[in-house]
């Protein structure tokens, strides 16, 4: 890649101005800041869109009484039962049981502590789901280096 071809297409730079390796006129390598590249933006937004779609399905399932709110909070942190089990210390078969609304409804605040502690939310918040998933992280203006 030549220095002048280093992409400056904006998008998901998120305050992170990266450096790319590129060659100058004499073919010598140098480091050149990059402000985002199209294909990378596509791949990133695809990943976030996928999470959002999963969440929309789960919110509907929670409302229909097919999944517990824990399923929502799990997926919104990009976890599955196995990963949630490793993080919370709750056995996987129990995590899976807690994804059932009837079982989940009977759990005390105390029984929810492993999850609420991990997610940094209260037991009350853990029992509710929003009406729609949060928007994916915003694409930012390429000119600003605003750290989150």
């Amino acid at each position: 890649m030549r220095k002048e071809d280093v992409p400056q297409e904006g998008g998901w730079t998120g305050g992170c101005r990266e450096v790319n390796y590129a060659v100058d006129d004499r073919g010598r390598y140098l480091l050149e800041p990059s402000l985002g590249w199209g294909p990378k933006n596509v791949a990133l937004s695809q990943a976030w869109e996928e999470i959002r779609e999963q969440l929309i399905v789960i919110i509907a399932e929670v409302k229909a009484g097919k999944s517990s709110p824990l399923a929502y909070h799990m997926v919104s942190r990009q976890m599955d039962p196995s990963l949630l089990s490793q993080y919370s210390g709750v056995a996987r078969w129990r995590v899976k049981r807690h994804l059932k609304p009837t079982v989940f409804a009977k759990l005390s605040d105390e029984a929810l502590t492993p999850y609420s502690g991990l997610f940094g939310i209260s037991a009350g918040e853990l029992r509710t789901v929003p009406s729609e998933p949060p928007p994916p992280p915003a694409e930012d203006a390429p000119s600003e280096g605003d750290a989150p």
Partner: protein
């Protein structure tokens, strides 16, 4: 606190960490050199290891490998520790910082609050250097960022004990003792040969040039086997592994080309400068692959034909890699 630690931004986390640590300890070293001497370049497609629920495609050796290999080749004594207990892990870090030592750590990106939200996936192979502590926050030299950053204690603890694939288990590493002198040419030569070996003659079909051919063959089967949605997710995942932050672009082929230029000088071997150009072209080919893959993901190119084209681009990449590393091997071996 380590006021004299010089933070330099780099394209990729672990080679940046390695270069910054070695420079701190008195061996001026560029990121590309650290990547090269650490024999960082690699390829593997490992469908049975999942990252964010998708098959792993990697363009570099495993986390920790670059630091380990680079320091070993240069005869540097390093220490590495993993922990069971987070508290113990934190105490060990604090003790090292108190002794004025910058410490490398492996972390999970998902838990690092200073990362842009868009990048916060479960990826546990992120390396950074902890250089100090200010109250309840750690001062961190994260090579991906322009400046040093602060990270609350509780968050770093979570990041160091991230779970799932590549779990860091609180891993810390640091330079204990530098040798009197370095044999850089020998290290460079050995590292180049190692990469040639792993790319050309690993007996596993998932690795190196054969791995790229394998991925190309698999790729064409995805649309029928997995359906459109899953196929596109997998394709997008490959682009992310190849291009996302910390890859130095083009799956590390550009950073390796930069290393080959430095290697040409270290070894006084002009052929390596020429091969650096070949490696740059290879990187450009990988970028063409990412471009086309992104068009397919966005629905701007028809699925059926595009997958044949994507596969043939991958085969071309593989053939070019084979040529490059074969020539590299004969240029270095005597």
């Amino acid at each position: 606190m380590n006021p004299e630690f010089h933070h330099r931004q780099s394209a990729h986390c672990e080679s940046g960490v390695t270069a910054n640590l070695l420079s701190h300890h008195g061996l001026p070293c560029s990121e590309a050199m650290a990547f090269g001497v650490g024999a960082g370049l690699f390829f593997a497609y490992v469908p049975f290891i999942k990252l964010n629920f998708l098959p792993l495609t990697t363009y570099r050796i495993g986390p920790g490998g670059i630091f380990k290999k680079a320091t070993k080749r240069l005869g540097i004594t390093v220490r590495q520790q993993t922990f069971r207990n987070p508290e113990e892990a934190e105490n060990a870090l604090d003790r090292l910082l108190d002794a004025g030592r910058p410490v490398g750590a492996q972390t999970g990106v998902f838990w690092l609050p200073y990362f842009p939200p868009a990048y916060r996936f479960h990826f546990n192979g992120h390396n950074l250097v902890v250089i100090g502590k200010e109250g309840d926050e750690y001062l961190i030299s994260d090579p991906i960022f322009e400046e040093t950053v602060l990270c609350p204690k509780a968050d770093l603890r979570k990041a160091r004990f991230a779970k799932g694939a590549l779990a860091p288990k609180g891993k810390l590493y640091y330079v204990e003792c530098m040798p009197e002198q370095f044999d850089l040419p020998k290290a460079v030569e050995g590292a180049i040969l190692e990469v040639c070996r792993s790319m050309l003659s690993t007996p596993l079909p998932l690795v190196g040039v054969r791995g790229i051919h394998y991925l190309a063959r698999q790729l064409t089967k995805w649309p029928d086997k997995l359906g459109d949605r899953k196929t596109l997710l997998r394709l997008g995942h490959i682009i992310r592994m190849q291009e996302e932050i910390g890859t130095g672009g083009a799956g590390f082929r550009f950073i390796y080309a930069a290393f080959l230029q430095e290697a040409a000088e270290v070894l006084g071997n002009d052929k390596l400068f020429e091969l650096s150009g070949v490696c740059t072209e290879l990187g450009d080919l990988w970028r063409d692959f990412a471009l086309l893959a992104a068009r397919v993901c966005k629905g701007r190119a028809a699925m059926g034909d595009s997958f044949q084209e994507l596969a043939s681009l991958l085969h071309t990449c593989a053939t070019h890699e084979e040529t490059l590393f074969t020539e590299l091997r004969s240029a270095v071996a005597r």
